[in-house]
């Protein structure tokens, strides 16, 4: 075989491997869409999206997904209350105040925090954080939204701080120096020059953090409970979309039944939510890159 032909074949093969990622996306959408379509032949879209009762595993089946969405939102909101402010402050400290020696030590440790398997955080939430919280909040039940929310916030904090810090470091030095020259303190410079200057980058980090929280599975599957409930009360057991998928996967639901299809319908909703958030985040980051290009 001639060298030229071989080179051509190799390039095609490499291209196929790269294209596999597009096939993966297509595969995800197809698998979810086929089963969701079958599901929606038996349950109307309106009932699925607006129903307030979710009981597919009971004799009296109801397919309103709102309780699962509410559970997901509640836990994610608690996680964001921890991860966003703390992550942003940590990023400001690392980017504006921190001596580089400290930074070299702290950054890898934060990466460890992000690399701990989520099942470990679930164990921590259930067997440590919940009992500790119960000392102060006697009404807190053993499974609840608060404890996994807090722990999830801790898990996502490094993502927020590291992406926000990258964005702040990309703000040109000259802007900071101009601010100092006008007599501003470091806090004033950080809050009125650097953070606004890195705004779209920081927003991208925040949105990615929300997407992570919405898709996080094991912490909530272990510590939040398995009771779909339309509530904003963080003290009672709830069930998230991801935890429901785990719950059904653990049982032996036969393929082809409507119970089996519910996990794909819920998965489709989860995919659309996170994919939408990811697209917005990517778009914002691109925009941010252009601002200082």
């Amino acid at each position: 075989m001639s060298t030229r032909a071989l080179e051509w074949i190799i390039e095609r093969l490499l291209f196929l491997c790269a294209a596999l990622s597009v096939l993966t996306t297509a595969g995800i959408i197809l698998v979810l869409a086929v089963e969701t379509f079958e599901f929606l032949r038996e349950v109307s879209v309106v009932e699925f999206l607006t129903g307030t009762e979710w009981t597919p595993l009971f004799a009296n089946q109801r397919f309103g997904v709102l309780p699962l969405v509410a559970g997901t939102m509640l836990v994610s909101a608690i996680a964001m209350l921890v991860a966003l402010p703390m992550g942003l402050l940590a990023a400001i400290y690392l980017s504006e105040y921190c001596p580089s020696g400290v930074r070299r030590v702290v950054k890898p440790v934060l990466e460890i925090l992000a690399g701990v398997p989520t099942v470990v955080y679930g164990y921590f939430a259930l067997t440590f954080v919940t009992p500790v919280l119960q000392q102060f909040l006697p009404t807190l039940s053993g499974f609840n939204a608060l404890s996994p929310g807090l722990v999830m916030g801790l898990m996502i904090l490094p993502l927020v701080s590291s992406l926000s810090e990258d964005a702040m470091r990309a703000v040109p030095r000259g802007l900071r120096e101009g601010s100092y020259a006008l007599g501003a303190t470091r806090m004033q410079t950080a809050l009125r020059v650097v953070v606004p200057g890195a705004f779209s980058g920081i927003t991208a980090a925040f949105i990615l953090a929300v997407s992570r929280a919405v898709g996080e599975t094991m912490i909530v599957a272990i510590a939040a409970g398995q009771q779909p409930r339309l509530t904003a009360n963080p003290f009672v057991p709830v069930e998230t979309m991801t935890a429901y998928i785990v719950q059904v996967s653990l049982g032996d639901t036969p393929q082809g039944t409507i119970e089996y299809r519910t996990i794909f319908a819920v998965g489709m909703l989860l995919f659309l939510m996170t994919f939408g958030l990811n697209l917005i985040s990517t778009w914002l980051r691109e925009k941010f890159r252009e601002e200082y290009a």
């Binding site: 491997c17 086929v34 921590f124 094991m218 785990v246 996170t274």
Partner: protein, 280 residues
Amino acid sequence: MRKYADLLFQFVSMLTLVVALAALATLVYDILADGAGRLSWTFLTTFPSRNADQAGVYHALMGSIWVIGLTAALALPVGVAAAIYLEEYGTRSRVARFIELNIANLAAVPSIIYGLLGLGLFVRLMGMGQSVMAGASTLALLALPVVILSTREALRTVPSTIREGSYALGATKWQTIWHQVLPMALPGVLTGLILALSRAIGETAPLITIGALTYIPFAPDSIWSKFTVLPIQVFNWVSRPQVEFHTNAAAAILVLLALLLSMNAVAIIVRDRYQRQGRA
């Protein structure tokens, strides 16, 4: 006044870091306190049991090793090939740009969605069943974006003069990549692979979704065996009400973390040697 505000702000922002690091320390301490006493050679070499004090993690440990080994074998060639295409061939083409955007988005898709893909595609459609192969294929898809991104970074560190020197000697593009660029980028590629695998080894949700068993009394002996992995065993034990099983879960977490740490140590050693070579 402004000065005090600045100091206070610095203190508060530093405090958030201290709180985060203290939480990490608490987590590690809590798990050590719960599980260290349960760790023993017997725990590593016995099978699960209904009695908490006789149960071990041998099957799950072997399952994890099988799955991660196969995941590496699948993700490395495909990921490296994809990265080579995007970095060396397809740069600036519209198709390559689209693929890049797609990879960035895939990297942020929740892992449980990959589990549903694995269930629909590998377990059902391709008939792999709940085998090591199905699990590893699912995890390989999950690890691919990370492998591709880190390989591209490693390829980018190879100076263009190396490529030009090779072309000047009459080598073709592929010969240049295979004989010059890849060997130089290899340590970076391997570091990225190990980091991707250390994330995959802790994954629980996608494997539960494809139906990896939570109770299985044997270790896999081929890629078509049924299996379970350490994180699933942890989940199984922590989901039980009895405290003795929680102790087992903590001990199994320690085994998992030890596995993770040793993988990261290998990655650091590889990177370190690479950097020293670069300077020499």
